[in-house]
Amino acid sequence: MERIEAIKTIVDQLNDELIICNIGFPSRELYSVKDSPNYFYMLGSMGMASSIGLGLAMAQKRKVVVFDGDGSVLMNLGGLVTAYNLAPQNLVLVVIDNECYGSTGSQCTYTRTVDLKKVANAIGFKNSFKFSINDIIEFEKILKTTGPVFVHIKVKPGNANVPIIDMAPEEIINRFMKEIKTI
């Protein structure tokens, strides 16, 4: 299983959840699998997806699912500490871990030797799930779990051949905020 298959499997099991999606190929792959006003494509600010998701989960009641990556989580490990302490029940952090910086040429990250689920558990996350490369991702069960939830999905490196997102940043955020009814 590569990243895009994990994304597709999860998206097929979602209803009206809000998604904050990580920079680079993760957003492009999500956009090609399915586009929705419920999705915020983060086009810059690497490392910030989990933090944006935390703030959004605290500000309103709908469930928030963050698609993050191993390189991005390593850039903002402190964000996990904050998310655990603020503990919004409507937050699901999904880390799709291919053990590399996929969007820049698949240079290795340190998650081959550091287990991000163990990191999350050490911080204190009580509800956490791990899926290996060949596991079936049962996401409906995760959506019924009280947050904050940490989901660690191992995938093979590789980016799908998908185009860049042809929406302007303002179009992305305005559509998203109209969906949440905050503008």
């Binding site: 810059g44 997806a49 933090s51 703030g55 904050t82």
Partner: protein
Amino acid sequence: MESTQSVYNGLKDAGINFIVSIPCVNLGKLLEIIDLDNEIIHVPVTREEEGFGIAAGAYMGGMKPAILMQNSGLGNSVNVLASLYNLYKIPILMIMSHRGTKGEFMDAQVPMGNATPLILDALNITYFNPSKEDAQYIIKKSWDIAKSKGVPVGILLEITFW
């Protein structure tokens, strides 16, 4: 008016209801007051950049956000300000204790103190240097600018402010 109170009054006049923070010794009293205010969600964070991320999400969820930090935190936040706030036109009030300014007792604060206005200029961020007499008015006005233009606006509180 007392300096901390004038900043707090400005935040209240602006309707700020979501604050992320990293402490500075000069912001200590303000952080205590905010913690007692049930109308404001206060989120202490581990790094200023992360705070900007959380505040952006809160804005999307309908909140009016501010960050309280030392000016050193601006250096930790350059990319998020450019590639999240500038890119998507997200407003926020940046209340910064500006160390390394006139009266600084610690030499180590001076280089970042000098760089701070230059970094704000490079990011094209509007900022003000209020006194305690006009801080309340300027902070309220700054949020109006931030909201109408979809930009971060900086408030630099120099050492002499306190």
